[in-house]
Structures are given as C-alpha cells and as structure tokens.
C-alpha cells in the first residue's frame, strides 16, 4: 500500500520536474530569498583562522575568503587573488589581488592583510601553514598594494594547493595585529571579506548571516539571508529537510540510509561532487609499535579479513568507494598500480599462521572514532571479523576528547580515522607516513609509527620536484611500497552527498563544495 503511494508520488514528482525543467531551463538568477542549512555539530566559533572544523568552515566560509579556490578537477581558481604567476624555477609565486575589496567593517583590504595572515597570524596559529611556512617560505613581500610575492627556499610542488579556505583564510590585520588572537573579542563578531555578514548567533539554535551590501563582486550575492540551524539529533535533521525547514543537507548531516530515502523525494537533487579538494579517506590505524601489528603479515591478514565492500554497502549505505591505497582516486598523483587486498578469510588465516603469532596471546583494544552511529557499526563489524581470526578484541569506547588524547599519546592498538587530502599528497597524505611526523600530541600524524627511510626519501623528492612528471613518478613508487607494507589499513573513500531542494541553484560549483562562499547561489521562486 505504502509502496504504491510512494510510486505515485514519485511519478507525479517526475512529471512536475519534467514540466518545470522545460519551463525554466533557461531561467536567469533572481535576487532575494533565504537559504536554510544545518550546522552540525554547532561550530564553537566562526573564526576559520583559529578553528578549521567542518561546521566552522561551512559557516565561516561565507564570511572569510582565501586567496584561491579549486575546481572539482582541483585546478586553482581565483578568489581574493585575481591572478597569479609562478617563476620557472618554481621558487617565486606572485599573486595579484582583487580590486575594491572591503572588510565587513568598511576598512579596505590590501596586500598588508595577506602578509599579516601569512607571516604572523597563521604562522602562529595554524599548524599546517606553520609547517609549510617554516620549511619552504623564504620571504613574503608586497611590491604593490595589490600584489603579494612568496619567495621559496626550495621548490614545493604542492605550494599552489596551500591557499584553500581551511589552509589559508585571509585575516584582517587591523583587527588582529598586536592582540592575543585567541582571546580577541572579534572572534565572536567575525569580520571578513565574504558575501555574507554575521547578523546574530543564538547558540544552540541557529546562526544567522545576512547579505554583505558592499561585497566586491557587483550585484552579488543573490541571497538575502542564510540560516544555519543547530539540530543535534540526526533523525530530527532528516525530518527538518523533509518538512522543508532546511533546503540543504551537507554530507554527514543525516545518516546514510536517510540520504537514500531523501534523494528519492521529488524536487530534490543530490551530488557527491564538492569534496574533491578534501577527498576524505577512511583508514584503520594499527599501532606498529607492538605485537601483533608490528608484523606486516598480520596487517595484511587484517586487510584480507575485512570485507570493505560490505562496509561501504551495509554500513555506509553505498556512500563511498573502496580505497586502494593512501591516495584517494580524486587526488593528484593517484596510482592504481599497487598490491590489492580482496576479502579472503582463508588467505587472512593463512597469513596469521605464517606469522607464527598466536592471536589469542594478543588482546586488541579497538578504539572507535566517536563520530556517530556508522562509525560505531564499523567498529563492531571489524571486531567481529578480527575475532574470526582468533583475536580477542575489546571495544574501548571514548568521547571525542578521549579519542584525540589516546591517539595523540599513541595509547591504542587499533583505531579509525579519516584524512583530508587537500588536493596534493604533500599536503594531506605524506603526513601520515613520514617518520619525521611521529610526534606525540596530535592525532593526525604518523601515530602508528610507520618508519621506512625509502618512503621518507620518495615523499621528499616528490614534494621538491619541479616538474609534475618527476613528482608523479615518485608518488607512484611510494604508493606501491606503502600499500605492500600496509602502513595504514585503508578502507574507503568517503562520498559525502550534498542533498538540496532543486530550487536552490549553483550550490556546488567547486572542489571545496559547500565551503565555497555562496555569492553565486540563488533560489528560484
């Protein structure tokens, strides 16, 4: 009975969509309207220079802007930088800035702000930029008010990919220079150059942004208001979309199976595009310091024991693609030519036997990533699979704090994590494998203690390559080695689905998806 109704509704929806499609195929953007979205979880702050969590970037991305943005093919696109040039030796990068850009408080934006951001603010507060700046950057200068020049100490093939919003948001010098960045009251009243300004933020309820009338792109943005609503319960978020309270669901806003259901509604469209710059890759992290995971054969056995297709299909509701190695298939320098680990329990058991390790002697603590139901299911699944190999697995539940701390302190046997790749392996991939990155205190480094001088060498060579071909060759080789070593247990590439009402136009246009400022987005009436 119910199925019939659904079919009818779907048919009607299709019909309507068809009609509307023909009627409005060539429509032009209209001004006005309110776009409702969800910020999940509620961001602690909107100052993207100090916090680069997903929700912060999602909301803060409408307020702050970076020098560059990236297409779905990861090609750099202009943002606050109008154009750029690279010297042939790969050591000098010159950016020309947009004209007539003003901060939300009316002060003009200039090259000084970029230099302050790069040399002071981010160098102090942004761990990734700090690493790049100290390793590669020789000097940053402004030959003209609308020009910024970065001189490098040595070539860095990924440099042009380091100017994305989460890596390099431009900070207003006149507000932050000379202050304690973290306690600056302006963190609560963010001042950016973006198309929208913060109107009010009712904590626990919503964040309200309004159109920036002085925006530097004439006639933009189209929208009047943005609401980011705080809805802590996943099921409630799905209901909110269904009832039309919100127009857009970002990947992760609702559970996978809800996505499956919601995209079938009429007037709804969805895309997995918009995550190319991040390309989140999910992996198991096995602590290589101790037995049994210090043994490569055990790690390989684990890979064979886990049906990654099952995980993608049944736990993540098809929202993903089995990973072949450390680099996501959408990231630059991805190579398919690596050893594979098909699901094969017999082979897994054989590898355990070959290793000579008695699994019962090595109880394993499995620490799930505390990010919600699907991650919990995955832990439960992995536990079952490993127990079939004879291991005794205990799930050690923690909250986000406990997880970060245990991982950062190397206090784990087996855990999960996922990594953003930021377009270029030098930015998001190498950090998990370089022996120099075995550092206590952060959960996002080489916490598993993978040490291989050959790999270190190849990563360094690739990053310092001046030509793309050199870099590609080095990356291809390193992928082979790492995959054979099972430095991490790569599970799958996450496909985050953006779901939106069809009336919302131009929503996902770049490789950073919804973090892209929405000055081109409009709502049809």
């Amino acid at each position: 009975m119910k199925r019939h109704v659904n079919l009818l509704a779907a048919a009607a929806g299709l019909l309507c969509a068809g009609l509307m499609g023909t009627a409005y195929a060539q429509e032009t953007p209209v001004k006005g309207g309110t776009l409702n979205m969800i910020a999940q979880p509620e961001p602690p702050m909107l100052m993207v220079g100090l916090n680069s969590q997903g929700p912060t970037l999602y909301v803060g991305g409408q307020i702050y802007q970076s020098l560059l943005t990236y297409g779905t093919d990861l090609k750099p696109l202009p943002s606050l930088a109008k154009s750029w040039t690279i010297s042939p030796d790969g050591l000098t990068y010159t950016f020309t800035l947009q004209d007539n850009v003003k901060w939300h408080d009316g002060k003009p934006f200039s090259a000084d702000d970029v230099i302050f951001t790069a040399d002071k603010f981010l160098r102090e507060s942004h761990p990734r930029w700090r690493l790049i700046a100290t390793t590669y950057v020789e000097s940053i200068t402004a030959p003209a008010p609308n020009q910024v020049v970065f001189k490098l100490k040595k070539p860095f093939s990924a440099f042009l990919h380091a100017f994305e919003l989460s890596s390099f948001p431009i900070i207003p010098k006149h507000i932050y220079d000379g202050t304690d960045y973290r306690t600056n009251p302006a963190n609560q009243t963010p001042i950016g150059t973006g198309p929208f300004k913060l109107k009010d933020w009712k904590r626990g309820s919503y964040i309200h942004l309004v159109r920036n009338e002085d925006y530097w792109k004439p006639g933009k943005p189209y929208l009047d208001e943005l609401y980011f609503r705080i809805i802590p319960d996943a099921a409630s978020r799905a209901v909110a979309f269904e009832k039309g309270t919100v127009d857009v669901l970002r990947g992760g806003d609702v559970e996978g199976f809800e996505v499956r259901r919601l995209v079938k509604q009429k007037d709804v469209e969805n895309t997995t595009s918009g995550w190319e710059a991040y390309a989140p890759l999910v992996f198991m992290q096995m602590n290589l310091r101790n037995q049994p995971f210090s043994d490569k054969r055990i790690r390989q056995a684990v890979m064979h024991a886990i049906d990654r297709e099952f995980i993608v299909k049944n736990i993540f509701f098809g929202l993903g693609k089995v990973a072949t190695g450390p680099i996501a298939s959408t990231t630059l320098y991805y190579s398919k030519d690596v050893p594979t680990y098909p699901f094969d329990m017999a082979r897994a058991k054989k590898l355990v036997t070959e290793s000579g390790i008695n699994p019962a002697d090595h109880p394993i603590r499995l620490m799930p990533l505390p990010y919600g139901a699907m991650w919990d299911r995955m832990s439960e699944y992995v536990k079952q699979q490993l127990e079939q190999l004879g291991f005794r697995v205990t799930i050690q539940g923690t909250d986000a704090g406990g997880w970060s701390q245990n991982t950062a302190d190397f206090n784990f046997d087996l855990t999960f994590n996922f990594t953003y790749q930021y377009g270029d392996p030098a930015l998001g991939v190498a950090r998990h494998y370089l022996s120099s990155n075995v550092i206590k205190g952060t959960p996002y480094g080489n916490n598993q203690n993978y040490v291989n001088p050959k790999v270190d060498e190849l990563f360094t060579a690739a990053a310092g390559a001046v030509s793309t071909e050199d870099a590609a060759r080095a990356y291809a080789e390193v992928q082979k080695i790492i995959v054979d070593d099972v430095a991490l247990g790569w599970l799958f590439e996450m496909h985050n689905v953006t779901v939106n009402r069809k009336k919302v136009k131009n929503l996902v246009t770049t490789g950073i998806g919804l973090n892209q400022y929405m000055d081109e987005v409009w709502i049809s009436k």
Binding site: G204, V239, D399
Partner: protein
C-alpha cells in the same frame, strides 16, 4: 523563628551546599583522564607538542590542581565562571544564553507534571478500587517504567511525523520573525512535545505519591473527626485531606527539581531544545570543563533556590513548621 531569620539561615546553608557541589565537581572532573588542550589542538586540524603546551599554559592547565581550584573559586565569587576553551566565550555568557530555554522547559514540565499528577492522584484516591483508579494507576506504572528517550522518540514519530500536529524540534520557528503574542504562541506550540515527554515520568511519580499520601491522610484521626461532624466525603477530601496530603508532595517535588535537569539532557537532545542540558552534554564530549562546571554550578543554584522557595512556602502553608524551627 521568624521567617526572615529562617531565610537567612537557610541561605547560608544553601551557599555552603553550592560551594560543596562546586568543589566536588571540580575535583571529580579534573581527576578524569582526557586533556582539553589536546582535544582542542586536535580540532585545530593538527597539533604539535609546543602548540599543546602553549594552550595548556593559556588555560592554566599547567598549574597544580589546588591552584586551579582556588582560582576557579575566586572567580566564581566574583561572578566569573571562567572562559570556554572551545567556544572562546565567557562561560557565564554561554550559560545565560541557554538558561532561559531550560528554565522554560523544565518549569513547564514541572508544573505540568505536578498539576496533572496531583489531579490524577486525587481522582484515583477518591475513586479507590474503581476502574478509574485501576486505569490511572496502571497508566502511572507504565509511564514510570518507560524510558524517557523512548517516549520522546515515539512522540515524535506519532505526533510530528505521522500526524503532523506538533513541531518535532526547535524552540520556535526560526526566521519567521514573529513578535509578541504570535511568538509566544509559536514557542508554546514547540513546547508541547518536550514538556509532555519530560513531564510524563514525573507525572507518574506524583500520581502515585498523591494517591498514597491521600489514602494515608484519610486514615488519620482528624478525618474521622470530620466524619463525626457530619462533613460529606467530597468536602472532607477538599478541605481536610488535600492540604495535608499535598504538602509532602510539594516537598518531594522541590527535591526532584534537579532531576528534571537530568531529564532535560535527554529531552533537549531529541527535541533540539537550546538549553543547558545539551550544553552540558556537548561540553562534556568536548572536555570543555569550565562550561561543564558552570552548568553544574548554575543547576545547583537553581535547585537550591527551588528548595528554599519550597521551604518558605511550606512555612507559610503549614503553621507547625515555624514553631518547630
């Protein structure tokens, strides 16, 4: 003892309780494993030891525990509840922003459960042994045994999703720009489900207590006196039994006020209610200790105030208390 004097004495005792609660919580929370600095560093995308040390120093986490406690207590005395590591806002601001929502929710649930519970309890006691009595008491037993979160889920399923009568979450229609009465009505509309869900468990408790209390009072001698005077049953219940029976319910209810906040953690999560219950849970998950402590402090103060008011009211209603001191 005069009421004023009683109030002063009771206040000083209350202050002691609040301080005790603060110290207890402070020690408890700081004994726990889990370092807020590393959580924060983790969230910043990555972090190295130097960065974390810098954060620890900034938040005073490198100080010995007793120094931290002393600093905190000094702050509390001057109304400074500390600074939220994560939200980069003073804790007091954060809590004051959220408190009204929780007070509205728990207050409504409190009144709802008390009024309905007492009414049902009186009804059941008055009709003791009848079908009405059995129905009311069975209902009370069932709601007493049903998990709060489960009722919440079922209520959303039935009243929001299937019937579409009531909004399933939020405190008001966001962006509707309502003002005045329209806004109040809108909030009231949103308030129904969470209030009823949170209140049902307590309604069940009060129903059972009221019935038991009334039956107990009905066994007392003065009820016999009233009957011997020729007072009809309905009037006996109204004039003699009810007042005597309900006083202990009020006392109990005031002691339960704190438990409502506990229930609010669940209710606010399911109904996206922007209150301190959820703030507490979020703060806990993020190791945002100052917020956690602040929420407990404020809750303790609210509970203590409710108890105080209940005590004062009790003195007004029951003439015996003042004499007994």
């Amino acid at each position: 003892m005069k009421t004023l004097e009683f109030a002063v004495q009771r206040l000083s005792k209350a202050a002691l309780v609040v301080v005790g609660v603060v110290v207890l919580n402070f020690l408890l929370i700081h004994l726990a494993p889990g370092d807020p600095a590393s959580v924060l560093a983790g969230e910043a995308g990555a972090g190295d030891a130097k960065f974390i040390a810098q954060l620890r120093a900034q938040f005073g986490l490198d100080q010995p525990l007793y120094v931290q406690l002393w600093t905190y207590l000094k702050g509390v005395l001057t109304g400074d509840l500390g600074y939220s590591y994560r939200n980069q806002v003073p804790v007091a601001t954060l809590i004051l922003e959220r408190l009204p929502a929780t007070i509205l929710l728990t207050g409504c649930a409190f009144i709802f459960s008390l009024v309905l519970g007492i009414a049902l309890g009186v009804l059941a006691a008055y009709r003791r042994g009848s079908i009405i009595d059995s129905a009311v008491m069975t209902g009370a037993l069932i709601f007493y045994a049903t998990p709060l979160f489960w009722i919440a889920l079922m209520a959303v399923l039935v009243f929001s999703i299937n019937l579409d009568w009531l909004p399933p979450f939020d405190m008001e229609t966001i962006g509707a720009g309502l003002t005045g009465w329209a806004r109040a009505l809108d909030i009231a509309h949103h308030l129904i489900l969470p209030t009823v869900t949170l209140g049902l468990f307590f309604t069940a408790i009060y129903t059972r207590l009221t019935r038991a209390s009334i039956l107990e009072v009905m066994d007392l001698d003065f009820v016999k006196t009233a009957r011997a005077k020729g007072v009809p049953k309905a009037r006996i219940i109204r004039r003699h039994v009810l007042r005597n029976a309900i006083l202990p319910i009020f006392t109990f209810a005031s002691m339960q006020a704190g438990q409502l906040v506990g229930g609010a953690v669940l209710t606010e999560t399911v109904f996206a209610w922007p209150g301190i219950g959820r703030l507490m849970f979020d703060a806990l998950m993020q190791r945002d200790y100052p917020v956690l402590l602040g929420v407990f402090l404020v809750t303790a103060i609210v509970v203590v105030i409710v108890n105080l008011v209940a005590d004062l009211l009790y003195r007004v209603v029951d003439p015996r208390i003042e004499a007994a001191g």
